[in-house]
Symmetry: C3
Subunit: 342 residues, 3 copies
């Protein structure tokens, strides 16, 4: 059985099929691919877009989404195998996943890092716990990666450029300032999908400390080797923006300071000028701009950029609805010909 | 595109059509006017009746409601244009409204005043922010007015009197005691719809300090001029109840004390006797009694009044379901012949 | 009009019919018995399984569930008749139940004890308040009993033994340790349904202080008299497990310490060895094991027991979905031939 935990687990043909399905679901919103089916949306962290788009996606295809928030309006869950559960946790993931699997056809999981110890967070054990014990397909609704956002982003770029083939486009993933140290998930994901689709990718960030985890840097290099694009790291704003076709912005916390964010603060505060503004965009090849949202205006990008025709963040957000319908429909159908890279 | 922000924005013929539609939706509960459609219910404040009635109204017409609670299980939202968002807010209303507009066909908004500064609260900027940026119709689910309650109230009165024509009825909107200073929204709305429908309206309140904001007093006078009823303020309980056909109760905070509620407390505490009781009801012309709910029994109205046949508060609450179906269906259909007063 | 407050209120033939309907609903998941119908799920306490199973049950039969959490995202409710409501409560159950009855076809209520005063909690007044004022059927979603769990448990046993006739089976309800004093609801319910179905029931608990409330002990004796089984209390682990066909585990707080839980703690701490483990299970007649979930692994039962083929807790949890569909469908249909014992 196939889950949707990371695009990197999927073969390229199946990813392309998801994107093509999503484009069809966008044209023809209502269908019956999930008729009588249900998905549990398990949120360990808050959400607006993800919850709305999954809930409506299920509805538009005849299904139903149940929203669960463990530790908020449901029980706190244990993830350690063999634990003597005499502390705070009330129920083991083994039971949670098995019972949910009896009720629903799909399980979506959002579980952000705890932001204390990256070596623990990078194990992604909440998502993996669900995948291990669930007997139905599991969908990553953002943990340490965000593959649904990847597909929405990719579809928005395909729409913008009028072709599914994005090879040769100059793609800049730029770090931006944000008052808090954020999750690297969308940055990891942007790197993953941009290299997968064969673009010429630059990771622009203030210093080597802001480079992403080696797992995702490795995926990027592997993807470049397979898809024929390129991948480089830059700390030079002018050089990175020059001639860019795509500017994708995201803020994240520097991994060497993980869990020690007060120490990162003075470092981070020096790089407020990474904001995406008109002057930087003027250096590009009339680049398209996007962001996964939510976005702090005039901190990550200026009002002028956000309200310009170059901004496709709203399109990308809308695409979440349609790519997730494609993912849910594909996982429920599970054609025998669908292969996994694992 | 037409929103449903206030009844005062709508021409009388369209309000009458909504009420007639609502009566039909009450007889024939199930339909397909919202088949495959969705509404986002954005609650900045808690709700039971509003949420249940909108959620079920959407369901009964084949649609789906998504419930969002910004700052609770979604992101805190910025409403100021041009703000440098380096504080608590995570996302600007421009993005929230535009993205929601891609997901849903309608947006309902509940945003009570903050109860600190009436000159700020009276701008209704959350509702107006959604209306400004949304590309789909927006419905007021109670902000500083409560137009859905107005329609439910009007329908309940039409049912009680057996006719849509309420002209000439003596209508008393009475302030009542409540331990806390409450929103003026329903009082503003009762005044608005009662005068709009041509009734002879008395606003009964303890002192001139409890008179409503001049905007709504002005709407009442304007409505009287157009619909041929009358409007007066009274501080005399006996005179106001004498011969009344309708008694509508509501508590609210006095605007001169807005944000300074500790100072209002001793004033308010002197008027506990404004409670609606059998003695007062006996002075009326066998009046019908109602309230928007929730109602504190034996504080705003006695058990005897609440449990009497004169009380139509339950009918009014039920009507919320049906008038909201009428509003949603009308906004989604948006017939070209539908005119706005603005 | 018939509610589903306790199985003990229902005649045996109707309970058997519910179980048979549930088995059919399990085979044929999708239907239209609730087409266009709605249920309000009123949760005064958190829930995962109950909420998910009711919500999906309604969906699978064409209906819709509205989830309400009074005091959390809805108003705090008053249950005392005649109260002068100038304290914390905003609305009386009379209005809540009557208004909900206009919106929905069924009302489910979860209201755990407050754990301060058992003589108050045992009155079950939240559930009874809804049943009193509602004009639609009310379903107990766990208060001081848990009748939906009873049906799910009974169905799982019928499936395991391959027959609806459970008479003559040796059934052990064993108390287990848990760091907190828990509700007696599921224990009361297990005792009720096991004796009702004619099994030979042993209530195994550490001391006479852990015996259940006399109301439920009385129901057990009454059921035995009518159904021909037996009922005994034991404090001897070895004797109780010997030859058992069914082991059902649950932890609960000792009633003599109710509200004074710090005093119970040293007592409770002496009985950690009541955990269900392989050694105890080896003494049984190859017994089936179950629990209502959530379960703390290695505290109430060991990993080895939970992961053994003897454990049918997941089946029992799944059955919640199907028995609740049966209950909802039966209550909405309310055939005139359906009798109540009251």
């Amino acid at each position: 059985m196939k889950h949707f935990l990371n695009t990197q687990d999927w073969i390229r043909a199946d990813l392309d099929a998801l994107l093509a399905d999503a484009a069809r679901f966008k044209r023809d919103r209502i269908g019956d691919a999930l008729k009588g089916r249900a998905i549990a949306l398990v949120f360990f962290n808050p959400s607006m877009r993800t919850r709305t788009s999954f809930e409506l996606g299920a509805f538009q295809l005849g299904g139903h989404a149940v929203v669960l928030q463990p530790g908020k309006d449901a029980w706190p869950i244990e993830f350690d195998l063999g634990a003597v559960m005499d502390g705070d946790t009330e129920e083991h993931i083994a039971e949670v996943a098995r019972v949910l699997s009896r009720y629903v056809d799909l399980i979506g999981v959002r579980a952000f890092p705890k932001f204390v110890d990256w070596s623990a967070d990078r194990e992604d054990r909440v998502l993996k716990g669900f995948a291990k014990y669930s007997t139905v397909p599991v969908i990553n609704m953002e943990t340490i990666t965000h593959p649904c956002q990847e597909l929405a982003h990719a579809l928005a770029l395909q729409e913008h450029f009028g072709t599914p083939d994005l090879r040769g486009r100059k793609y800049v993933l730029t770090w931006t300032y944000h008052p808090k140290a954020l999750n690297t998930a969308v940055a990891n994901s942007a790197l993953t999908i941009a290299t997968r689709l064969g673009m010429d990718v630059t990771l622009l960030c203030p210093t080597p400390e802001y480079v992403l985890d080696e797992r995702y840097m490795g995926w990027a290099r592997q993807n470049v080797a397979e898809s024929g694009g390129s991948f480089a790291v830059s700390h030079d704003i002018d050089a990175a923006y020059a001639g860019a076709d795509v500017v994708y912005a995201k803020s994240w916390g520097a991994l060497p300071y993980f869990g020690d964010w007060e120490k990162e603060k003075p470092v981070r505060d020096r790089y407020r000028h990474f904001i995406v503004d008109e002057a930087k965009m003027a250096r590009t090849n009339d680049a398209v701009f996007s962001h996964c949202l939510p976005l702090r205006r005039n901190v990550k990008a200026t009002d002028a950029v956000m309200d310009s025709p170059a901004c496709i963040a709203i399109e990308e957000a809308e695409n979440r609805l349609h790519v997730q319908k494609a993912v849910m429909a594909a996982l429920v159908a599970q054609p025998s010909g669908m292969g996994s890279r694992e």
